[in-house]
């Protein structure tokens, strides 16, 4: 009975995007397919909430034999995917509608967009729940392919360039991830050749017996591989291009969720490696890459001219912070990192949505051409400001809480050098990021700008995210606390809650 429920749970999780994609392909009506996608996304959200509530009570769900395995960590990722997917679907309707009115896209493109969007959601949903790490890899690679298609939806020069770089770099990176995965598998079958040797559950079970040298090399490959996809510097180079050239809702999903999915891969193997050889080694590497990411992101933001590129670099910074939290370890650090995953998934899409709306209004992405947003579109302006302040870690917004935890754990773990550098560059990021933001939000708009918002459907998703950003800054519901607590236990406790 219980297995049946579990199987159905997973099935209903994966069914909506499949059905959605099919319906979009069949119906092809511009008005309908947007609504369908919103339905799909909301069904996913509801189902994920159900899954989360089950996870809170029973910690793990296993379905279809051993094919799917959901624990608290997966649930956190699922939660971020579903929330961002939901708001992105709502936002898409308005955004793509306007693109259509502009003549930027035609009917064919819109159908392709919504197909891609549904498939993209599907692939991402599978990543955190697949028990087989090979399947996980396949799905991460699949997300790359789908998102490349979504990025090159417009046949603009820049979009094609970005898509190309993304494709090549991500594929190369992920091939390293596969090498790492296979190495782990090899380590596993060397000690215990069994059916589920490729499965996460099987792997973490035997991890204590793995050969240390093998694990180290394997983890390096994993880190570089999934790190490329997760946007850790210096493998992040594709990220600003891809995120800035994609259609805005896609940028939001890429930045808010896809990076998390890739990072999820790192976390899984980090757990295995910690069990195998103790957390010291992988922590060390995570901290190094994290510091490099934060420094490079901070430095790159200063000279940015394009709004979305700037946001992309900010994603690099936040992935750095997440990896820093995991690397510092300790309950506080890991908790902070997981909270950071959620917080970033809320704040970054908010910023992307706002920036998309703003670029449509001003007909420009260059920040120098945008001034006085607060006067032209007050609500969007305030939401943009809230998102920006959250991103730079200003209280009382949510990211401050997680950053506080991460940095505290850094002090606690005695990594003073790393923490000092990070704090310095967080201040630098704060300065350079806000400098751009404030120039755009305040000041006098040019006289021909008419004061108006861009429609309720554009505001709604931002308002949802904005209120979550504010609320999570001062209050985290007990259920969410429990979930994150369990997820951090999964990481710190060798994979078991």
């Amino acid at each position: 009975m219980d297995t049946l429920i579990s199987n159905l749970t997973i099935l209903f999780l994966l069914l909506p995007p499949v059905v959605g994609a099919c319906l979009v392909t069949v119906l092809k009506k511009k008005r309908v397919i947007g609504a369908i996608t919103i339905c799909t996304a909301s069904l996913i959200l509801i189902q994920v909430l159900f899954v989360v509530s089950r996870i809170i009570s029973q910690k793990t769900i296993t379905a279809f034999g051993n094919a799917f395995y959901v624990d608290s960590l997966s649930a956190v990722i699922l939660l971020s995917i579903s929330v961002v997917g939901f708001v992105a679907a709502i936002y898409s309707k308005n955004y793509m509608g306007r693109q259509y009115d502009n003549g930027t896209v035609d009917d064919k493109h819109i159908v392709r967009y919504y197909q891609g969007f549904n498939v993209f959601l599907l692939t991402m949903l599978v990543v955190p729940i697949a028990n087989n790490l090979g399947v996980m890899w396949v799905m991460v690679e699949a997300t790359t392919l789908v998102s490349v298609l979504l990025i090159m939806l417009y046949f603009k020069e820049n979009a094609i360039e970005a898509a190309w770089k993304y494709l090549i770099i991500a594929t190369v990176g992920l091939s390293f991830a596969l090498i790492g995965t296979v190495f782990f598998y090899y380590a596993n079958i060397n000690t215990n050749p069994s059916e589920d040797a490729m499965n996460w559950t099987g792997m973490v079970h035997n991890a204590k017996l793995f050969d240390p040298n093998l694990v180290k090399i394997a983890f390096v490959f994993i880190l570089v591989g999934f790190g490329t996809k997760a946007g850790l510097a210096p493998m992040h180079t594709w990220l600003p291009d891809a995120h800035s050239e994609a259609p805005t809702p896609v940028s939001a999903v890429l930045s808010g969720v896809l990076l998390n999915c890739a990072f999820y891969g790192i976390i899984r193997f980090h757990i295995v490696s910690s069990v195998a050889i103790g957390p010291g080694f992988s922590n060390q590497l995570l901290i190094i890459l994290a510091v490099v990411s934060i420094v490079i992101a901070a430095a790159s933001i200063y000279f940015q001219k394009d709004m979305k590129r700037m946001l992309a670099y900010s994603s690099v910074e936040h992935m750095g912070l997440i990896s820093l939290g995991i690397g510092f370890g300790g309950l506080l650090g890991i908790y902070g990192a997981i909270l950071q995953i959620i917080n970033h998934a809320l704040a970054k899409p908010l910023m992307f949505f706002a920036s998309g709306t703003i670029s449509q209004k001003y007909d420009a992405k260059a920040m120098s051409k945008i001034t006085g947003i607060i006067k032209v579109m007050p609500i969007t302006g305030i939401l943009f400001l809230i998102g920006g302040l959250a991103l730079v870690g200003m209280p009382p917004f949510n990211i401050f809480v997680s950053e506080f935890m991460i940095l505290s754990s850094g002090f606690k773990s005695g990594q003073f050098v790393a923490v000092s550098i990070v704090i310095l560059f967080l201040v630098v990021t704060f300065a350079v990021f806000l400098r751009h933001l404030i120039k755009m939000i305040f000041g006098d708009p040019s006289s021909e700008m008419k004061k108006s918002e861009m429609g309720k459907l554009a505001i709604l998703p931002m308002a949802i995210l904005g209120s979550l950003v504010v609320i999570l800054g001062i209050y985290i519901p007990v259920q969410l606390q429990t979930l994150i607590q369990n997820a951090s236990t999964v990481i710190s406790n060798g994979g078991f809650a």
Binding site: V135, V172, I179
Partner: protein, 221 residues
């Protein structure tokens, strides 16, 4: 018996490496394609050897698949795509590092991969012993080709070398993970190649060139 087997393994690995060098050393796109085709044939032979040594029948299927997909379908697709292109792309004029130097660097990379892999305990597994460094060298060489070459097409080829290395690596280490995942990986690669072909097409249309140098609009400096 074991030593003979090991010799066979080593020699086939060496042949594979030489085939890989062939790709590094050639200039024109058609030459690469041919070199790639040869390399894939060698690869499928190597796969068959692995199948023989381990006695797992699934590996023969994989070898067959490799032969079909890599030495026939992919070159065909790429030839088809490039034939449609109307611009001059056949000869790459100037890689960052000259061909002679690249060959030497590739040799160094082979040495590097032997050095890096040394510490892994292979136990008595001769297949791993023989092929792991070879496949590792293939990654590095593939990556080097990607770094060094300046046309979009050559980068696809670099990617293909890496995929070949990956395939060999997976085979050598795991003797076939499981057919399902293997197929998944194959499909991924195929779709990847397909998408990159579409992109190739787009790039040549939009930029009137296949030079990656044209793809430098998005940058910070």
């Amino acid at each position: 018996m074991d030593t003979i087997q090991f010799d066979i393994l080593t020699i086939s690995g060496a042949i594979l490496l030489i085939a890989t060098f062939g790709i590094v050393a050639t200039r024109g796109f058609m030459d690469w394609l041919n070199a790639y085709r040869y390399q894939s044939i060698v690869l499928s032979g190597v796969t068959a050897i692995i199948g023989y040594v381990t006695g797992i029948w699934e590996i023969y299927i994989a070898a067959g698949l490799t032969l079909v997909i890599k030495s026939i379908i992919i070159p065909k697709v790429l030839t088809y795509v490039t034939r449609k292109l109307e611009i001059e792309f056949k000869l790459e004029t100037n890689p960052y590092v000259s061909i002679r130097a690249s060959v030497i660097i590739s040799a160094l990379l082979v040495a590097l991969s032997y050095f890096l892999i040394q510490q892994i305990p292979f136990k008595s597994d001769q297949i791993v012993n023989a092929y792991l460094p070879v496949s590792m060298a293939q990654f590095f060489i593939g990556l080097f080709v990607l770094v060094n070459r300046r046309t979009v097409l050559s980068q696809v080829v670099g990617l293909l070398i890496i995929e070949n290395g990956l395939f060999l690596f997976a085979m050598a280490l795991t003797h076939g993970v499981s057919l399902l995942i293997e197929i998944g990986i194959f499909v991924d690669i195929l779709v990847g190649i397909l998408i990159s072909s579409i992109l190739l097409f787009r790039i040549s249309r939009t930029f009137d060139s296949l030079d990656v140098g044209k793809l430098e609009n998005l940058r910070d400096d």
